[in-house]
Assembly symmetry: C2
Homo-oligomer: 333 residues x 2
């Protein structure tokens, strides 16, 4: 394991120190070492936007703290949920009195800890409502959508929810917009190689050379199928079929398209893949209104790619197009 | 080799199609399939800023085309120089009549092809002057500085040269600013793993598990020393010593600090490393005026990190701080 770390059991703390030192424009410390906030948070009158999740997915989650983006993030160990205490302290860091929208992904640990934190927040007089992202079509069939995991679609959910809050939506309005965003999102990932958690020191799953795993999760959760590796073209067809079978897109439909590398896939390959996806969408008469291509939601040094499509309407387009500044996503127009 | 490609001999062309489709705000095609330009280029009255280099270093080189950034880029095969014809066509795409500053890295192929392109440009009435980046302290001793390679310091050279051009500097002024930028830059890299060129299909060099190679080049050029892997802290000391022995920094000196991953190193590790570097600079009384941490100049899926320091004066600070927009570097303040 060739890594740039000090103590393998201390990588999250050490990285947080780096983020704080490097980007005072985005990050301020709080009393909880596992909670970072936007320096201006809580912003008077604005609904606070909070998320939380395991580390190792950088720039997710903390990299989406910013202007018209997240107000506070609860930070977990690598690939592990933050504690209930961290979620609670993130709520406190984000709440200006207008309430908090906690927009997070559907994982057992996060569900449990958010629920506990919400009880304590209610006792402290902080109104918290949630949206639970479940955009990964590979993680459960369509009739068990509540079992699906949240993956890269979370980024679009945060962008929409945060823009709604910045535009002055109240808590129910923010929750409604974020829920619509994730309801309109579908994602699927393909893994080409594994990754190693520093404190474990060896890969926690295995993908053989020449193989790919369709539907793999962000922590190596088993996918739908292991197959011989396909060309970018065939991979694009396979992945797009999974998404469109679950969420058909009619001619003239506009979408946001998010293609994220899982960490080690060279950026040029993400663009080879992008061209294949856009071609197929165009052939179907679907228009890509806005696209994001890069390492938006990673899994340490895994190779692979995730595809996320969000169906747009006028409201979602307006919110998506709002300028935003953060480490992971900056949009000037 | 688990990759997201179609034809291994066609990855550069396929990726260019993706870039063009995904980012019409940054990229326009030219008559030369291996030259991309900023859509607004050539910009009337402005000195054109051109670079070129091999592919596989994304977002370098083409990702630095943008507003107040590069006007045109000549694109080579993976890890290979662009042709003289591509450099010439990039000059043509960037020249508004105010001349072209070709700011590129010190590699034999690039030197030869730029020289040939300049002869043809002169015949076509285009004034071209060059700055040749040589920021890699590991690639030759201080008394043979003209043999040193250009590495991630090129990004700071482009930023400075492009800002000077955007501020209305004439060709000699732009060249002077870019030359000062690279003269004030020193870089060193550490490699932790190799990478595989798709058309080759196997790694072209090897780094053993548990080892690191200090001073490795962006194409696996041999470094100064192979050693057992060090902690982030020790690695920071080792690398900073190489830089500071070559370019001493006095107390009160302000610097720009660029830390780039080589592709597969998780972003959280770059921040662990950042904290170690900043701590050591602060202890010496050196102030980090602006920092860049991320995958700015990669080598496919290599693991490792490069450290670049640029010594600042008033002119360089003003130019560095100018807003800029590109895929690889966006700066709003």
């Amino acid at each position: 394991m060739n890594r740039i770390i000090n103590d393998p059991d201390h990588v999250v703390e050490d990285a947080i120190q780096g983020y704080l030192k490097a980007h005072p424009e985005y990050f301020a410390a709080t009393d909880n070492a596992r909670v970072l906030k936007y320096p201006a948070a809580p912003i008077a009158g604005k609904v606070g936007i909070v998320t939380g999740g395991g580390s190792g997915h950088e720039p997710a989650f903390l990299g989406y703290i910013g202007k018209n983006m997240l107000d506070a993030v609860a930070i977990g160990e690598i690939f592990s949920s933050p504690t209930a205490g961290a979620f609670l302290d993130a709520f406190k860091a984000a709440d200006s009195g207008a309430g908090v929208a906690c927009l997070y992904g559907n994982y057992a640990g996060d569900n449990m800890n958010v629920k506990m934190a919400m009880k304590k927040a209610a006792a402290a007089g902080i109104a918290v409502k949630t949206v639970v992202a479940n955009d990964d079509v590979a993680s459960a069939p369509a009739n068990e959508i509540e079992k699906r995991r949240g993956v890269a679609g979370e980024i679009l959910m945060w962008k929409i929810g945060a823009a709604a809050a910045a535009q002055g939506y109240d808590l129910d309005g923010v929750i409604g917009a974020a829920q619509k965003a994730i309801d309109n999102c579908r994602s699927i990932g393909v893994g080409l190689s594994s990754c190693t958690i520093p404190a474990v020191g060896k890969p926690n799953f295995h993908i053989a050379d020449g193989k790919m795993e369709i539907g793999i999760g962000h922590h190596g959760e088993p996918g739908i199928e292991v197959s011989p590796i396909q060309s970018a073209s065939a991979m694009a067809s396979t992945m797009l079929d999974f998404v469109l079978n679950d969420m058909p897109l009619g001619k003239g439909q506009e979408v946001a398209l998010l293609i994220s590398g899982l960490g080690a896939t060279p950026v040029m390959e993400l663009y080879i893949y992008y061209a294949e996806i856009e071609k197929r969408l165009t052939e179907r008469g679907v228009k890509v209104h806005r696209r994001y291509v890069g390492n938006y939601f990673t899994s340490l040094e895994m190779m692979g790619v995730t595809l996320t499509l969000m169906k747009l309407d006028t409201q979602l387009k307006t919110l998506l197009d709002m300028p935003a500044h953060s480490l992971g996503l900056t949009q000037v127009e």
